[in-house]
Symmetry: C2
Subunit: 143 residues, 2 copies
């Protein structure tokens, strides 16, 4: 999560919402790391989670990442949670909960849907305070 | 929808689930067209809708596609529906309903969630029979 938080910090310096993500393969090796790049790339889908899923899948040469784990600094939104299910990830670790945009423990609760393709193990609240502090500082400066 | 169906047919010939999508800009011009590329690109997020959102946003130089409309041959899944909301699309037209994986009129019903970022106008069932025939032929041949 330390690396994901560093990616979130780097995203904030680019003017992006400070969210960072890291994909780890079955051997515990780093498969991909990224922060949000929505504004930089002019890409509405360029959330940190999507970028590491895409980069990790390309690197590992498969669209199914069943042995991989995702670490992300914020509860994933519906797009990212559904992508995690499509990729068949093993575990999802996230830091801060997101009552407004989160879709794991809030809103559409993607993994609780009977139609979900897959349910990863989910662990929320890891290093929550650091992630919340980053997000709060970012949105305070924006106002 | 004719062009989206052609993209779906092309996807089937590549061994991909036959879904095609087209993004049209505010002037009615084609901004992007693609079929599914999940297997070809080793990318779990490479649904046709995601690919045209990304390509269209890159082409138009903005992550917000508020004046654009998406045409797709299958009811979007949760990932794609949430991406449509994030991109602030004006209208979503789709062909076949998808009771199993759809997330517009089924499952998490993304645009009906109180936490959705945006609700496009939605029109389902356009050219439904052709899209269903393509999907049925594909899955029949797979068995």
């Amino acid at each position: 999560m330390v690396l994901a938080l560093a990616e979130a910090e780097a995203a904030a310096t680019r003017g992006e919402v400070p969210v960072g993500a890291v994909l780890v393969d079955s051997a515990g090796n780093l498969a991909a790391a990224s922060g949000n790049r929505v504004e930089l790339d002019h890409d509405p889908t360029a959330h940190a989670e999507m970028l590491v899923l895409r980069a990790g899948a390309a690197r590992l040469g498969t669209a199914r990442l069943a042995e991989c784990d995702l670490w992300v600094t914020l509860e994933p939104c519906a797009m990212c949670a559904a992508a995690v299910a499509l990729a068949r990830l093993r575990r999802l670790y996230f830091a801060a909960w997101d009552a407004k945009g989160g879709a794991v423990d809030h809103g559409p609760r993607i993994f609780d849907q009977p139609t979900t393709h897959h349910r990863p193990e989910v662990y929320g609240g890891i290093d929550e305070r650091r992630a919340v502090a980053l997000l709060r500082a970012f949105f305070r400066d924006k106002r």
